[in-house]
């Protein structure tokens, strides 16, 4: 019979179709220069507003990088976090707000330091980078929590940003920030981490919004292009569902059977 294993033909069609849509998005943005513009996510707009507020109140802004787990799918979350870090550091340097970044991760520490240094440089304010701008507190989960809680109280922070790969300790730091009167802006990709983040934050990004925010902040044509491709893939899925619904309502399960050949 056909060379493709029976029952998997449509899966191959979806795989190739999705790959082409994403390549189309990337090619259109990177090679043809038509970079898609995406609306500023609400949480990123909130960062801008609250960094301004921090300057007025003379209280520092805190950015946490999250745990540096090296598993392959967390890599994409780190890239998005570093994009937001770059965006926030430039904002803080531009408005001359006191900026503090804490990390429990030895792997993320050098990457974050390099990004903050460059951001301050491009904004023409390299002297803002002091030695407590980025602090490696401890790679033990709970010791990191208590260190961050003390820092929040001591520095009397007005904004706490936690967008990235976090584990259970994010609840502790969110509550400590709320306790010291700060605004929480957070983001989590994994579904088991989103409820804690959603409950504790004033503004937050859920699931793929974290990647969209990272792409928006880094303005990298490749990521923005792949976002357009991903939207087209989701649109294709919605169209197939709608088509299937109409057929099922009309009593024919042609599409349902087609999808399983």
């Amino acid at each position: 019979m056909s060379i493709i294993v029976e029952g998997r033909i449509l899966q191959l069609v979806f795989l190739l179709g999705y790959s082409l849509l994403i390549l189309y998005g990337i090619n259109r943005s990177v090679n043809q220069g038509k970079v898609p513009n995406i609306r500023q996510p609400a949480a990123i707009a909130a960062i801008e507003e609250h960094v301004g507020r921090a300057v007025e109140m003379g209280r520092p802004v805190l950015f946490q990088t999250g745990i540096g787990d090296v598993s392959s799918n967390a890599g994409a979350t780190h890239m998005a976090m570093l994009g937001v870090l770059d965006y926030t550091a430039k904002l803080a340097a531009n408005k001359e707000a006191k900026f503090i970044c804490t990390t429990p991760s030895p792997t993320l520490y050098p990457m974050a330091e390099e990004i903050i240094r460059n951001s301050f440089l491009t904004e023409g304010k390299p002297d803002l980078f002091t030695d407590d701008t980025i602090q490696f507190l401890s790679n033990q989960q709970m010791s990191y929590c208590s260190a961050v809680m003390h820092l929040m109280k001591r520095e009397n922070i007005s904004l706490n940003i936690q967008i990235g790969f976090f584990q259970a300790e994010n609840l502790i730091t969110l509550e400590a920030a709320k306790d010291s009167g700060a605004v929480n802006i957070g983001g989590a990709v994994r579904t088991l981490r989103i409820p804690g983040m959603a409950f504790g934050c004033d503004y937050f990004l859920m699931g793929e919004e974290v990647f969209a925010a990272g792409a928006f902040c880094s303005r990298d044509p490749l990521r923005l292009g792949s976002l357009l491709g991903q939207d087209l893939c989701k649109l294709a899925a919605i169209i197939v569902i709608l088509l299937g619904f109409v057929l099922v309502a009309a009593g024919s399960d042609f599409l349902v059977n087609l999808l399983t050949i």
Partner: protein, 210 residues
């Protein structure tokens, strides 16, 4: 109770009290417990992996499949990550792990996460039963929630009917997703609660309260 069991139970209760002393203030007792479990955990996982290799892989190399030496050697290149200047060696076995890992995950997701979910969503049963009602609700909720995750369309979403329809779909998608995460919070709480009950039960039985 046998002597070593009693000493063991006493030690367990001591560890529990030391650990929960963190709630009053982060202290050396707590950090000792945390360092113990991290160190013990690493030691234990190394014991178990070495046990697997010594009983399964090495015998099958010596007894028959001599070719297994090649993946073993390639695997040892992973140690390049620990030696300054040899990071490039580490990338060869890592490439295999990344390629196999993502490949296996994606090929399974195509049916489990995509096609099966699409079929189950479109397969609405229109009978006037609770099940029928639920299947229509699920159909609407899935489409609306998917609408929340459109990023590039939102760029052109200005005024006019299309813009407001899109906004309405996205807003209602947000409501469905937030309801779903409320259920997620209850699950996360239930998960830790059971472990917590076991700990408190150990302390309570040790002091003979029940």
């Amino acid at each position: 109770m046998a002597m070593d069991a009693f000493v063991g139970e006493a030690l367990t209760v001591l560890f529990i009290i030391l650990a929960y002393s963190y709630l009053i203030k982060d202290n050396i007792g707590f950090q000792f417990v945390q360092a113990t479990y991290v160190g013990f955990g690493v030691g234990h996982s190394l014991v178990m992996v070495v046990k697997y290799f010594s009983e399964n892989t090495f015998p099958s190399i010596t007894s028959g499949n001599i070719l297994l030496v090649v993946p073993l050697l390639v695997g040892l290149l992973l140690f390049g990550r620990l030696v300054k200047g040899y990071l490039w060696l580490y990338r060869y076995p890592l490439a295999i792990l990344v390629g196999v890992g993502l490949g296996l995950q994606l090929r399974g997701m195509l049916k489990a996460n995509l096609i099966d979910q699409i079929i189950s969503t479109m397969n609405v049963n229109l009978s006037a039963t609770v099940d029928g009602f639920n299947s229509i609700i699920i159909f609407i909720f899935v489409l609306v929630s998917m609408n929340y995750f459109f990023f590039t369309y939102r760029g052109r979403q200005g005024s006019g009917t299309i813009g407001s329809i899109q906004n309405l779909l996205m807003k209602s998608g947000q409501y469905v997703l937030m309801g779903a995460f409320g259920a997620g919070f209850a699950a996360a709480f239930l998960s830790r609660l059971a472990v917590f009950m076991g700990i408190i039960e150990q302390v309570v039985t040790f002091f003979g309260l029940i």
